[in-house]
Amino acid sequence: MTDTTLRPAKRSSWLRNPVVDFCIKQPAGMVALLVLLVMMFAGVFAEYIAPYDPVRNNLASMLQPPSWKHLLGTDPFGRDILSRIIYGARTALIIGLSSAFVGCTIGAIIGAASAYFGGKIDNAIQRCIDLMLSFPLIVLALVVVAVLGRWLVFGIDINLILAIAIPIIPQVARVIRSSALVIRNLPYVDAARIAGYSNTRIVLRHMIPNLMAPYLIMLTAYIAQAILLEAVLSFLGLGVAEPVPAWGLMLSGSASDFFEEAPWIVIFPGLAISLAVFAFNLLGDALRDWLDPKFKS
């Protein structure tokens, strides 16, 4: 019997750590990751970092331009903008991360199940997805928010998270379904079926791990979308309510009356939103490039 040779695994184990590998191969992604880490740090330790209380009104110092005292100026209620932005990071991240995670995970499960079972179940789910996609994104979110009202748990509005997650579900389901369909027709899934494994085992052990790549990419993309959507909803008054600091909220209401005289009250919150969304999108792109060649045989 021929003894076939193995090529030795070359690189040292430290370099094989995926995070390190990612940073080396995707420098833009590494930058994005750093930005996001800073953001998370700000969100978690806001109490220690922010120079002022974000919610206390101080009408004496309202609409002050940026100065050494208030690095980014103050808003129409005299609140320090820098502090509100730092606390706003917390809101954005919590809502963005949770709604994207809920939406993407549920969407992925539905998409994968639909692809795996095929036939009538698939058709039924497809129709539902098409139905949900007939509503424009914002319309859907608006309606959900209006219907569900507010439901605060530990100061977090669960219904807002659901309102943002729900429009995400059909979009993710559609993409994951098409990836899952490809996988389902691959020989190794056939081999698993021939071996008589249960459907659960096949979906969990053979299909889901191979869907991680598109899932992660969509997750980062939708975290970005979610943060944007939260900003939009807060702007419309349907998202986070005053006085909770939220970037979108900082752009609406009284801000829209005064921003022509005091542009700083909108420039900096907008920059914060843009930076966060930009970083998440960049991370998603870098992830996609990093995962691509390795998983293509």
């Binding site: 509503f135 424009p136 914002i138 319309v139 608006l142 702007f235 752009l251 921003f259 909108v266 939103i273």
Partner: protein, 317 residues
Amino acid sequence: MFRYVANRLLLAIPTLIGVAVITFFVLRVLPGDIVEAKLRGDGTTVTADVIERERARLGLDKPRSEQFVDWMKGLARLDLGNSMWTGRPVIEEVGARFEITFQIALMATLIGCFIAIPLGTLAALHRGTWIDTAVRVFAVAGLAVPSFWLGMLIILAMLWSIGTLPPLTFTPIWQNPAANLWQLIWPALAVGYRFAAVLTRIVRSSLLEVLGEDYIRTARAKGVIESVIVRRHALRNALLPAVTVIGLEFAFLLGGLVVTEQVFSLNGLGKLFVQSVARHDFTLIQGMVMLFATFYIVTNLVIDLVYAALDPRVRYQ
């Protein structure tokens, strides 16, 4: 071909019915009452039977199923009913504002296409160079910047540079094209930038993929010039997925201009929708949702037809 279109339209009906049902019943679950808001909203006291009479007039006292049947009958006649707030027909309310929103959406789409297709192509052809990086940064930034914030920045820029704000009153394009465009170009730019960003990425990745295909290699082996390869061989294939995106984004824009209209103080569909949600104006909300859904379905059909026109594989079975 005619049969195909008819077939698709027929298939659309169940979807529309589904949308109608969901919208109807979801709205009825909304807390709050339009009559209360309208008559008592500004603090005036009104007696209970005035409220009852108003409710009866609007048909809100009937059982839900009856209200539903009434509405569905109206739909079949293409009568969307009257706004519960103003009393005017839904069609009239929507019609007045449709023009603005539609025009902005159209302009944004055109701006997006005119920017994205050349930029995306440029980035794909100069992959890996600074041009490519610049375009990609431009595109990712476009995705990141909220369009309403961009609108605010545009207004600020106008203030600082010219000293005036965009006009607030709407003049239709056939009355006074200059004034019309001068008003609407700014929101169109704000929204168009995002459109261009999304489209640029798609054009770029699609073209890159096509350039790696075997038939491009065949064209090169024939000695064809690179510019002809891109124009005649590559772009025609690469733009196919872009067509779908253009159509879908345009459809989404109609419903998604909500915030931008607010920033630019425009009296469009978005503003109307938000108002009607706040006021619980059921008929208006229902009517607008049905319109959005219909528009989306029609857009999908148009996309498929355009696709069939461009891609012979779809046309000839």
